[in-house]
């Protein structure tokens, strides 16, 4: 069988370092490691840049499905684009391996029988950071929130978790998106006296906010800074001086065990010295699982392959063992990381210490709460 | 009020940030006359002219046209009342032919041309009238030439033809002879005299011989105020006018 995988992500914008060319490499490595050719599966991979614009992304997806016989689209960071691809994939009855996007709507009200949401989602991030922080004593929160739907959702979800865990939300301030200067909002956060300042934003906004928080001495002042959506590459960009002490939730860290280290070393060689982000890891694992299902079914019919993927437990070197739920949610452990101090770090990419591990059954939103029409 | 007056300005004043360019001017233009406005540089002639045509809003004072207060009206609406101005720099539509230039004015008679759904062919019935107007000012042979390609004097003639197409009751001309060669001056003078038969004309002009030969009445402005008024013979003998404007050397 010939299988064509389209890696659709941001190759020029804010997520290009987290899920750009690296995701394509990850998909290629999955095909190679699976030894697909030996098993009679001809894998070809195409890629494109959706520029974080849903219209561009949906256009490419449609064209891939309609004219280029793409069977499966992988990655797709940026929720808005992912939601669009999700719709089109359902309409065209193909498969979408969503490793990049954050929106938990993909397994909630927008869930689709053709989509697997692999790596993480906003609920998991909010839950990981919110509950674990409260458990560690960070029981009063102030949010610096990007003023758009994604920021609002992160803030709302995290507030709920914080309050459910017995913490208190003291206030929130909405900053324009995208923002350059966060000083004024950070000052308000500082003035609130909250123990935890939650950054409910993403990408460049988070990077700038963290940088300026260090400038204004937020963490030195005794407040903890929690980034609700952040990747290892962002920490790399910021440098440990600035990022130290920051708390964040993730699904993958390259330095977790021998298998992850081995993969990451190979990956780093091919990706200009960059360690894999959790999204790239997710692309690798999801493509691997997909290929296994194709092999098992002996056909690439979307419905059959999806059924197989959900039926078959997942097992890969990066995420270990896991399952895919009926709503398309992939379940695995999540981790709460704290960024190391410069003197704790042994060198580049040695950035995280694991503060808490959240077991797979606690890490994601319960099946019943998502409102996915597929699981009535 | 003078029954023969077509345009009256009372107490007209224009200040530019403290500087009074036109100061309490009273001006009456008689129906059917050619009225000239002269005065030294910076006297406020152009400013007064702009006030009368509503291209500037007066600081104080009132303007009445045909007995109607037009002080607060918009320039385009003034034109609709039959009070039309020309410009000091030649005012044609450069990329349109001479005929099209005139036709734009004739088109005004259709009322507002907001009919974007209609073909411009409806305008071709105005062509013959346009041609007649061009003939009047001696431009027949130029009717298909782009206005920008016309010699200067012809542009002025075209401008006058365009203005006449509106069939205005009153024309305001700003230095119609400025920068014109003698032969053009004579042609345009004759044209102005001809069209003044049943119209009123107010003009600003520096060329004293033109003023002398054309105008029935002259108002001399100096430092924003009316210095003298009367016919050429009277005004040109007024010692204040001689001192402020004409100077000892003229004549």
């Amino acid at each position: 069988t010939d299988v064509k995988i389209g890696v659709l992500n941001d190759r020029s914008g804010i997520y290009a370092d987290i899920a750009g060319e690296g995701s394509v490499i990850a998909a290629q490595m999955a095909a190679e490691d699976f030894k697909a050719a030996d098993k009679g599966i001809n894998v070809s991979i195409v890629s494109a840049d959706h520029q974080n614009k849903p219209d561009v992304g949906s256009n490419i997806a449609r064209q891939w499905y309609d004219t280029e016989n793409v069977d499966v689209i992988a990655d797709v960071p940026t929720s808005s684009v992912a939601l669009a691809v999700n719709e089109i994939t359902k309409e065209k009855n193909k498969i979408f391996l969503a490793s990049g996007p954050a929106s938990s709507d993909l397994t909630g009200k927008a869930c689709s029988p053709n989509t697997v949401h692999w790596t993480y989602d906003t609920w998991a991030l909010a839950n990981g950071t919110g509950s674990a922080m409260v458990a560690q004593g960070g029981d009063s929160w102030f949010f610096v929130t990007a003023d758009y739907a994604f920021g609002h959702a992160l803030e709302r979800d995290t507030s709920a978790v914080v309050e459910a865990s017995g913490g208190k939300v003291l206030g929130a301030v909405r900053h324009p998106f995208p923002g350059q200067d966060f000083s004024s909002f950070l000052l308000q956060a500082q003035g609130s006296g909250a123990k935890v300042v939650g950054l409910a934003n993403a990408g460049g906004d988070t990077i700038n906010a963290v940088k300026q928080a260090s400038e204004f001495g937020i963490t030195q002042g005794g407040q903890a800074l929690a980034a609700l959506l952040m990747f290892i590459n962002d920490v790399h960009a910021l440098g440990l001086d600035v990022a130290q002490g920051l708390v964040l939730t993730g699904a993958f860290y390259w330095d977790k065990n021998d298998q992850t280290r081995e993969f990451s070393a190979r990956f780093q060689e091919r990706n200009a010295g960059q360690k894999p982000s959790m999204i790239e890891a997710g692309v690798y694992a999801s493509v691997l699982h997909y290929l296994k299902a194709v092999e098992a079914v002996g056909d690439k019919d979307a419905a059959k392959v999806m059924a197989k993927m959900k039926e078959m437990p997942t097992d890969d070197p990066l995420f270990g063992k896991g399952t895919i739920r009926a709503d398309g949610r992939k379940l695995h452990e999540m981790y709460l990381f704290r960024v190391k101090k410069p003197d704790q770090s042994k060198g580049p990419w040695d950035y995280f210490e694991t503060v808490a591990t959240i077991p797979a059954d606690k890490a994601f939103r319960p099946l019943a709460d998502g409102g996915c029409p597929l699981v009535k | 009020m003078n029954s023969g007056a077509i345009l009256e300005a009372a107490g007209l004043t224009k200040e530019f940030g403290g500087f009074v360019a036109v100061n309490n001017v009273n001006l009456t233009v008689e129906r059917g006359s050619i009225h000239a406005l002269i005065g030294p540089n910076g006297a406020g002639k152009t400013t007064l002219f702009n006030l009368l045509t509503k291209f500037l809003q007066p600081t104080r004072g009132a303007i009445r046209y045909q007995g109607r207060d037009i002080t607060r009206m918009q320039p385009a609406d003034i034109a609709r009342l039959g009070l039309v101005r020309s410009f000091q720099i030649s005012a044609v539509f450069p990329h349109m032919t001479a005929l099209e230039n005139v036709r734009i004015a004739l088109q005004r008679r259709r009322g507002d041309s907001f009919d974007f759904w209609r073909s411009e062919k409806v305008l071709s019935k105005l062509n013959s009238e346009g041609a007649a107007l061009l003939a009047d000012v001696g431009l027949t042979e130029f009717s298909d030439i782009r206005a920008s390609d016309l010699p200067y004097g012809r542009k002025r003639a075209l401008e006058i033809a365009t203005t006449l197409a509106l069939n205005p009751e009153m024309l305001l001309l700003d230095e119609p002879m400025a920068g014109m060669a003698q032969e053009d001056i004579e042609r345009i003078s004759a044209l102005i005299r001809r069209i003044s038969k049943n119209r009123t004309i107010l003009m600003v002009e520096h060329n004293l011989s033109v003023v002398a030969s054309l105008s029935n009445r002259i108002t001399v402005l100096a430092r924003g105020k009316v210095l003298a008024e009367g016919d050429y013979a009277a005004v040109s003998k007024d010692p204040r006018v001689i001192e402020a404007y004409i100077g000892a050397g003229h004549g």
């Binding site: 490419i60 064209q63 719709e87 998106f177 | 045509t53 291209f55 039309v84 041309s113 009919d115 411009e120």
Partner: protein, 327 residues
Amino acid sequence: MTTDTNPIAMAAITSVGAAGMPRHHFAIFAALFVFLIAAPFLLYPIFVMKVLCFALFACAFNLLLGYGGLLSFGHAAYFGMASYVSAHAAKVWGLTPELAIIAGTLVAAVLGLAIGSLAIRRHGIYFAMVTLAFAQMIYFFSLQAAFTGGEDGIQAVPRGHLFGLIDLRSSEVLYFFVLAIFFAGILLIYRIIHSPFGQVLKAIRENEPRAISLGYRVNRYKLAVFVLSATLAGVAGATKAIVFQLASLTDVYWTMSGEVVLMTLLGGMGTVFGPIVGAAVIVTMQNYLATFGDWVTIGQGIIFVVAVLLFREGIIGVLAKWIRKPL
């Protein structure tokens, strides 16, 4: 915005064909029509529809810039807002596609009237800046208003049944609907340009004070052409929402305003057919070079620079100069 050769001015001295249209224009329209009828069988129909939507948008913009002499730097506002409204109408109110498009168009027209009546009081670069400022406000409104879905946009818009009857889910059927809208749009623009109204516009563009002194209330004409342009941009945006089943922030962002300028400039502003060509080139480039990431941006930049330096008349403008006929 006066270029040395004003193609419109040449119109007066060109032979006129049966439909009141110069013969070669008629021929081009006919060829375009034939080509577009055949296009979906040769090319990917969705791609062609995208080109048509943007071409209509660019033509609408060109009506304002090339024929009204007004450079708006905020045309994304009408395009994008119409797209949101039509998406919302189709998805939430369940309107049929043609009604959804009409709803979007009406909103664009009203928006054009509101913004236009303020903006036309300013000239030149200030006009551009005021339109940009209002467009930015519309952008922030779209980012925050609940109905637009923030950065997710309005997704999964149903294509619905035309007049409640014809199922538009098939791209081929939808194509002919879009083609009809496109042709109606550009023919209307053509007629506007060559109407008595168009003549007055031209006069205003060439010498505004003179037009005023002839008794034309120029601001009303400018406003009229502004609203017409915004409305037609709205038609394009609303149609795009139905075609792509999506309305998103991209369509209201200022880069979209920049893109439509690029299309118009590249094709040739003040020409009838230029914006169509410009839109086709840009959309094709975006579509087929998407894999190359940043090189697309760089390529667009280079096109801008080259177009400005070497052929300011645009592709069609240069062509028109060669054949010495307005296009």
